[in-house]
Symmetry: C2
Subunit: 271 residues, 2 copies
């Protein structure tokens, strides 16, 4: 069972994992170097621990102890109990949902382990925005996707913002990094998946037609700004588009990547 | 043609419309009292002016003048030209896309004018998050919806964050406020729309079935937290759900309102 430790000074070194959460660059370095990540909010903290991640510590105001009692019971990590104002001082922002946990990252599994038995897989090329990565994981989980594969430059699903937006789906959906950007899609094709690249290319077919009747599908999504690289578009088995309205002016009405992902996941899940 | 005015002091009173953009509460009061709203970024500024909104002024660094020359040509408002650092000092944040405009709000049109001839309409009850309002407008525009109707407590589509996330779709899609919350949906039914409420209620039917074969549809979406009010759920003609995956744990995998809207708009657009 987690042991409770009252802390009253913001500069207490035991709170190092939680310091300056607003400083994105500092956090990225710290989290990579120490192999940690943060979960925020009662629900997300619970999902992280239930997902099998080992807690390094918990940080919360007293009023959150009861709601997380079962989670704390299941862990040997210390739980730092602090006044809410002190939590805010340490982290640099208002901790809306009150509870934080610092957890150990795990080694990423090999791709074959992640896709073994999977029927619907999401593949993200260079989605660099943590909010979008989190939103896509949440969509994938809600719509029954079995796994997510990330190109080497895709943003970190365990970064705090991704975890929060995903509502913890990054703990429940199996995922890993693709070691080889260049050969990634042909490798998936060889493993029995039909790779379907979402693109605005003129020769793309409507997504419903592209996935109709397929067994194993890898739905391939690109970056916010420029979409998929030419190489991934060309090395995918099929290219698909979400049919959109004729625009009133000059083509500025389009779906953002999170909305496009939601639609594409929905259509693919119902193929 | 807009006349260019070089400004070198952050406290110049002519920049009052742009001051402290980060202060949400201050901005809401200022914008309501002065009947103004802001557009940010070359593309969005252009869409606002092309959408027929009258500019009070423009604010930009010199390097944005060329790209917006045609827009400035079409307006009589002053264009304040400032160094980028000064723009940041006035607004309180880094102005990524460089150009800002302050524009006049217009009186909201009556509901009958907005729905006249419309076949697909979005109705938002209490969506209080500006990002979600903007995202829903963008989806609606991309997927061919003809109009948006907002309950009295729904967040402001012309607030800066809504405008930005919508990529200016709030200027191209006709919208207005519903004056009467209680009777809103029956009024739409009487006008020939089938009102379809998106809900997680147990007796809701899949969205595809709910909209199949309908002519005029009003798709009704609720707030982020609690969804639609009981009254709106009950006074809608139909209740619909997006079928989701069986969850691995305790039902926490669900779509957020922006993703759910994207899917519902897509399905409704293709009915």
């Amino acid at each position: 069972m987690a042991h409770l430790v009252d802390i009253t000074a913001a500069d207490d070194p035991r709170l190092a994992d939680y310091r300056d959460l607003r400083d994105v660059q500092l956090r990225k370095n710290l989290e990579a170097e120490h192999g940690l990540f943060l979960a925020e909010g009662e629900k997300v903290v619970r999902r992280a621990v239930e997902g099998g991640f080992a807690a390094r510590s918990f940080l919360m105001a007293p009023r959150w102890l009861d709601g997380l009692a079962d989670v704390l019971d299941s862990s040997d990590a210390p739980c730092y109990v602090v006044p809410e104002a002190l939590a805010e001082e340490v982290t640099g922002f208002h901790v809306h949902r009150g509870a934080l946990a610092s957890l150990e990252r795990r080694p990423l599994p090999p791709v074959p382990d992640v896709i073994d038995g999977a029927r619907s897989v999401l593949v993200l090329e260079d989605v660099v925005d943590h909010t979008n990565v989190g939103a896509i994981f949440r969509c994938g989980a809600a719509l029954g996707f079995d796994a997510v594969l990330l190109a080497p430059r895709c943003a970190d699903p365990l970064y705090r913002r991704s975890v929060k937006v995903a509502m913890g789906a990054v703990f429940s959906v199996p995922w890993t990094r693709l070691p080889d950007w260049y050969g990634a899609l042909p490798t998936l094709s060889a493993a029995g998946f039909t790779t379907v690249a979402l693109t605005l290319a003129a020769d793309a077919v409507p997504i419903e037609d592209a996935v109709a009747g397929l067994d194993r599908v890898a739905l391939v999504l690109g970056s916010e700004g420029h979409g998929l690289s030419d190489h991934w578009q060309e090395s995918a088995d099929r290219r698909a588009i979400i049919p959109m309205a004729r625009t009133r002016e000059h083509g500025v009405d389009s779906l953002n990547v999170a909305a496009a992902s939601a639609v594409a996941c929905y259509v693919t899940a119902r193929r």
